[in-house]
Amino acid sequence: MEGPSGGLVRMSGTHAAGGFWTRYVFSRDHKVIGIQYILTAMAMGLVGGALAAWIRVQLAWPGSAGISPEQYPSLVTMHGTLMIFFVVSLALVSGLGNIIIPLQVGARDMAYPFLNMLSFWTVLPACPLMLASFFVPGGAAAAGWTAYPPLSALKGAIPGSGWGQSLWLLAMALFIASFTMGGLNFVATIFNLRARGLTMMRLPLACWTYLVSSILGLLSFPALTAAAIMLLLDRHAGTSFFVPSGVVIAGQVQAHQGGTPLLFQHLFWFLGHPEVYVLVLPALGIAFDVIAAFSRRPPHGYRITVWSLIVVAVLGMVVWGHHMFTSGMNPYLGKYFSVVTLLITLPFAAIGVNLVASLWRARLRWTPAMLWALGLISAVGTGGLGGVYLGNATADLHFHDSYFVVGHFHFMIGMVTLFGTFAGIFYWFPKLTGRLMNERLGRLHFWLTSLPMFALFFLMHLQGLRGMMRRYYEFSQDYVAPVLWLQPVLTVLAFVVFASQALFLINFFRSPFRGESAGPNPWNATTLEWTTPSPAPHGNWPDETPSAWRGPYEYSRNGNESDFELQSAPAAPGVLPSKR
């Protein structure tokens, strides 16, 4: 690996000497870029969270929130879009991924630092573009985060399908471009820049999950890119990929001919389903690393977990149709998608069981990161079992597009991903800033966020069982009446969640200055990032980069003096690490 790392050393030399702009703004240091992503995601998270709070006011006390039936779909659409693509994707995948990967593989930076900088500066303008759509005529996009045509294709179908939908598509195009560049970088870095001796089976599980997640993203996003371009053409160039003949909007027969809306759904979910693994797997990887460090034992079944991740990814590419059981596709396809979807429970359950089993005979350290990781186990278990209901085509006849679905995906891509993100931020914060975050505030934040979130999203499942549909401005149907009294309760819970994020923000912005100083390895953890000083300098290691001599989780080995052994600790004097 002489070439790339040598080059990076030189580059980091010139960079360290650079001024404010090259160090903090147009930086190529993966750690700075990671923080930039996280700050961006926090800002977008405030908007996405405020939208959720606003939606919940309408749902609890209809009419009192100042939202009209025209605006409601816009708010839901933007909440979902911001949360998935601009909060969770940016904070957990692009942000923490950037921070963790080069440090854990023992590299000086990403494989392509310039591309890395470029991907951040590509997604940044997408944020104001997306938010600007609230202020254009007709308001923001309103066809749901899924943007199903013809609603999203025909300007008269809903107010948000005017300018708002076009801005949505443009912002998404920038996002996808950025995410693709980021994914390429992750894959290239993990494959090519691993330290000497760091074989794939010595890779920390966080890196494994980022690798699998990035490959999934690279394979699936092109389908959405194609769909978005086709939709733009349908909207502005008179093509008819997704709009059939004879559509009548407000008494006007539309000029489109011969397209089919189902094509869009297939393309969308070809991305959409793998996307949930893109988001959820890194959270699981982080949980494995954090739990290992704070339970002082290696995770249960490392190899089983790795292979399960790969099987999840492969199966995850061929089950997109479980979002379309009722769409009018061939019922035999429905059977296929149901059976294969439910096969994923096997490898996914293996990962979950391994997380739980990793606590067996543990010696816990109750840091906030550990609390989040433990909470994640509960969330992924509950959400995963919910998936067994939804992957079942027959049961889905009742659940599809109900609040059961809303509850389920908030468990997976809401709770699991956020819990993983918080765990990751608490855990690697000292490596970035040289200081620890406040534990007391962290614990308070954990309890005030996790419990209300669990209650909130769990109760939504029961509303869904009663037949409450999603994306409804208000509920006047008789059959849902018995669960409507829950609405204000859920709204109050949502406000507790929203408000308690202030505790996190205070902690996050105060600790770089006020936090307790951390040494190079405050958690007595084993992986390579803990071999360099905190904060890690540009180029990551002041002198030589480390080599890996052993597996990533050598905790509490029988017969060792200390209860952990750094991955870089030589096995015996004079023994070289094995080749990669």
Binding site: G334, V339, T345, L359, Y473, S476
Partner: protein, 273 residues
Amino acid sequence: MDDRSPSPLSLAFPLALVILAAAVVGTFFLLDWRLDVASEHGRGVDQMIFFLLVCTGPLFVAGHLAVAWFVWKSRWRDTPAYLPPSPRAEWLATLIPVLLIGAVAEGGVLAIGMPVWGQVYREEPDTLPVEIVGKQFEWIARYPGRDGKFGRTEPTLIDDVENPLGLDEDDPAATDDIVVRGALYLPSGRAASIRIRSLDVLHSFAVPVMRTKQDAVPGLVTRTQMRPTTPGKYEITCAELCGMGHYRMRGYVNVLTPEEFEAWRARQVGWFE
């Protein structure tokens, strides 16, 4: 960084998990989440869901108790040494719960789910043909009339008041078609074969009490089937975002006894009669 003295969290956290698991189970007994069911396949759907609740409930509780137990035990554990299980034991510890979940998931859908899926999608003999059409924001039902044939429709002929479906007067089959806005009338005990269309954007024909849901897709005719069991008036709702009026796109399925239904049908006049 040495926290060997038991933290209060090693008591609080397992306790929270146990309470959480109990609360989740409790809500199923306390809340009124069970919806009436009024179709034959709907009972099958409910059996499917009931099977899943009964099987995944214990898995949920067991998972939470396992975490609580391991965490609780760690309170006293002070040995730094960790004995890795043999690879065989490791495999078994993972494999057994996994096979259990797999059996619930796949066994459920194959043994209970698929026959019900067939009830919905395998065309039965002697069904009652009806059509339901979605448009922003209402449901319109159509019956083929005495000739048993649906007449031709033409988007250019659509007039919201005079001819909401755009029936073609020149087609003899269209003359006796019966059109009902906002309501579907069905006899109990006989399977209805429902063809579903949309005039504009996606909708989804959903009758929660029947456990029926099928998208209305412009440019496509989709199909579902149901055999109502109990006479009554049931709400139709829309399950696919279709615009600002999505939430109020309602209608009713009126299930009549077979005699009442024949009497109702005899009273209807064709659209061009």
